[in-house]
């Protein structure tokens, strides 16, 4: 159970991991997440399902190496079992024909947005994808995103590939051009700051904008409340009430402040890890 069938570094520090988990593969839907633990002493890390194959019984996860836990995850060997793999958790994305949907993916956010785009496309939507990265070498799953998109726009911050600039620029142009109001839904998934600006960009146009939040969690089942966020002035738990919320209602400053609660401990942990295991 939970055997790592394949593990590959797609681009620098971004890993793809295919895990054998028939139950999660069968049940997991676009928008849901799993919790993984690299080892007994490790943290419980929430990761959104990036792809799954019910027939093969496999689930694909993508993660970026940032701190101790993700370094440990990247070190778990192919062919071995991951210590713990729990899911699917959270609500699935609502999939129906909204007309045109714009998928805005920032960095590693490409991974969770892919299955949603795929499902929306299959449901008859016209899918426009805006895929952004800092630089050309950090772009991944470009062909996969293209395969589920009617229109595919790539941006890089430094202009090394596609359009130079941020994802919000083509997004704004699409909305300005959309005089017939065909865009029914916009999805923004990526770093919190990027999602905040996606929501800010779409707000004046009044188009429903869904974001998938990446709060710090422990259990992922509603038991601890560590992942609480304020949405429309109400406290919600990302794990059981989300992870998708209306981007126009999310208190972004609170989310970002809560991301930094453990910055001192994260540094301490990483320093220890690097000292013991190297980079």
């Amino acid at each position: 159970m939970n055997k790592i069938l394949r593990k590959v570094e797609l681009v620098k520090d971004i890993w793809e991991m295919v895990i054998e988990s028939p139950n999660v593969a069968k049940k997991g839907k676009a928008g849901q997440f799993v919790i993984v633990m690299p080892e007994e002493k490790g943290e419980r890390v929430p990761l959104t399902i990036a792809n799954s194959d019910a027939q093969k019984g496999t689930v694909t996860l993508i993660f970026m190496v940032v701190g101790t836990s993700t370094r440990k995850l990247a070190k778990v060997k192919e062919g071995t079992d991951i210590y713990a793999f729990i899911g699917p958790l959270g609500h699935a994305s609502e999939i129906k024909n909204f007309g045109t949907c714009v998928m805005v993916a920032g960095g590693v956010g490409t991974a969770p947005i892919y299955p949603i785009a795929k499902a929306l496309k299959a449901a008859g939507n016209r899918v426009i994808t805006i895929q952004g990265a800092r630089t050309k070498d950090l772009l991944f799953w470009v062909d996969m995103m293209r395969s589920v998109s009617d229109e595919h726009i790539i941006t890089t911050d430094d202009g090394t590939f596609g359009r130079k600039g941020l994802v919000t620029e083509p997004l704004k142009e699409l909305l300005e051009k959309d005089t017939e109001k065909k865009i029914g839904n916009i999805y923004g998934i990526g770093p919190a700051i990027m999602m905040k600006f996606v929501a800010k960009t779409t707000k004046p146009f009044g188009v429903h904008t869904i974001v998938s939040l990446n709060s710090i969690m422990v259990d992922g089942t509603g038991m601890c409340g560590g992942c609480r966020v304020a949405v429309g002035g109400k406290t919600m738990f990302t794990c059981v009430d989300g992870p998708e919320f209306d981007g126009h209602l999310v208190d972004w400053d609170l989310l970002m402040a809560r991301h930094k609660i453990y910055c001192t401990e994260e540094k301490c942990s990483l320093d220890k890890y690097v000292k013991e295991c190297g980079l």
Partner: protein, 464 residues
């Protein structure tokens, strides 16, 4: 041996308060055989023992105590295990003062027999002897029972049904079994090694355990039936923490007790950075609430290096829901009780971490629906407290993760499962017990529920 003192319990040695407040080792050290002998000699072996009626799992108390007086400690442990699969746990966390010991005849003129301490002694003796004997099991009857949750009620039920010949599988959402015994109760009150040993005993007895399975998500209850289970017991606990919904409650450094204790106990944040999960360590800590969970949180905060830990409780001392012993232990260790105080608001620093709490003093008014005098705010009494960590321990509600995906299961208006005295729910072949039925209660109450449902499931499946 000292002459028998019918008035007073034999004291149990403990770590000194100011020493133990800085370590996670167990607080009470347990009886020596001599102490156990001395205490057991106090028991009058009543013909009609009242103590047994006070025990939710009907431990044969006089008999196990008599075996101690004869020095037959292993036999004594086995006597308890006839009806209680988790004696080392119960000897530590049961509220004996309101159960078995409250019924002891000696209690009328002095202190009751220290039944809990004796139970703990024989359970520890057996475990440390390594001579754990497996009781007689009925031959396999080919029927399968699924137990959702491996907390106290699920473990008890599994233990009983395995002995009766059932093929029992426990499904646990976490990566470790034990439920609240692992994530909730701290190491210094219930060492995790003991929980692991008690679970190992059940596994050796033949119970199966599937970790990391969230029933209702990974597999539904109806799918368990399709997989061939003949009956299902739901003992998932309460597990949806309450907050007060006051301003600033989402600041960093404010936890639900569930999160604080889960980080420290299950994820072992008290051993950070050896373990990767961190927990905010406060210097000035406010714990909101007055129950056992609040005491556990306060005492954990002390051990994690706090200078000042306050229990902030809106009612008075007489209303504290915590066991007297827990409140006493906390006070001995230096926890400061701010009774008749209630938080109004939290104030954060520029990083979004809590730095102060606005508090209001309360006074007791007329009795409320619970029969306790209702706390009412004292006008003009607001003041500020500097804190850098707050833990909200005001209880938990029903977690809907399983119930919302289980058609046919009827719930009350608070989301708890409706079940009869034996735990039978409105859904065919499904029983439930523990906190998901009663709301937050004790370990032993959950075990009692597991025991009743085990019997009911046995009766139901015997007819099939």
């Amino acid at each position: 041996m000292a002459p028998v003192d019918r008035k007073k319990k034999t004291p149990m040695p403990e770590q000194e308060p100011l020493v133990r407040a800085h370590n996670f080792k167990e607080v009470p050290l347990g009886y020596t055989p001599e102490m156990a002998q001395q205490e057991a000699a106090r028991c009058l072996s009543c013909k009609k023992p009242q103590c047994v009626t006070g025990c939710p799992v009907n431990v044969n108390i006089p008999e196990f105590i008599q075996l101690i007086t004869k020095g037959e400690y292993l036999a004594s442990a086995r006597k308890i295990k006839e009806t209680n699969a988790l004696p080392a746990v119960c000897g530590r966390v049961c509220p004996q003062e309101s159960q078995c010991e409250s019924k002891c005849v000696l209690g009328k003129k002095g202190e009751p027999v220290a039944i809990g301490r004796l139970e703990r002694f024989v359970a520890d003796f057996e475990r440390n002897s390594g001579k754990i004997e497996m009781p007689q099991k009925a031959p396999p009857n080919g029927k399968k029972v699924a137990v959702v949750g491996s907390g106290p009620s699920g473990l008890t039920l599994a233990g009983d049904l395995v002995l009766l010949g059932y093929d029992v599988t426990m499904f646990e959402a976490f990566h470790k079994p034990g439920g609240v015994l692992m994530y909730g109760i701290p190491e210094f009150r219930l060492p995790k090694e003991i929980v692991e040993k008690e679970v190992d005993y059940l596994i050796n007895l033949g119970a199966k355990l599937e970790l990391n399975q969230i029933i209702g998500q990974t597999i539904t209850v109806d799918e368990l039936f399709q997989m061939g289970y003949n009956a299902i017991y739901v003992g998932v606990g309460a597990g949806l923490p309450h907050f007060m919904n006051i301003p600033g409650e989402n600041l960093g450094g404010i936890y639900s007790a569930n999160e604080y204790l889960t980080r420290s106990n299950l994820m072992k944040a008290y051993l950070f950075p050896e373990y990767d999960t961190p927990v905010v360590k406060g210097k000035n800590v406010a714990v909101i609430g007055g129950g056992n969970v609040a005491m556990d949180s306060a005492r954990t905060a002390l051990r994690l290096g706090a200078d000042h830990v306050y229990i902030v409780y809106r009612r008075g001392r007489d209303e504290l829901p915590a066991r007297a012993e827990e409140a006493h232990h906390a006070e001995q260790e230096g926890v400061i009780f701010k009774l008749l105080n209630n938080p109004l608001e939290y104030i954060g620093d520029e990083r979004g971490m809590v730095k102060a709490m606005k508090v209001q003093e309360m006074e007791l008014g007329e009795p409320d629906a619970s029969g306790r005098r209702k706390p009412v705010p004292k006008p003009g009494s607001e003041y500020m407290m500097d804190i850098d960590l707050a833990i909200i321990a005001i209880g938990a509600g029903a977690n809907p993760l399983l119930t919302k995906n289980t058609p046919g299961l009827e719930l009350n208006k608070h989301g708890y499962i409706i079940a009869d005295d034996c735990g039978k729910t409105k859904k065919e072949a499904v029983w439930a017990g523990g906190d998901i039925v009663t709301g937050m209660a004790t370990v032993i109450a959950a075990m009692g529920a597991g025991k009743k449902s085990a019997q009911a499931i046995h009766e139901y499946l015997s007819k099939k």
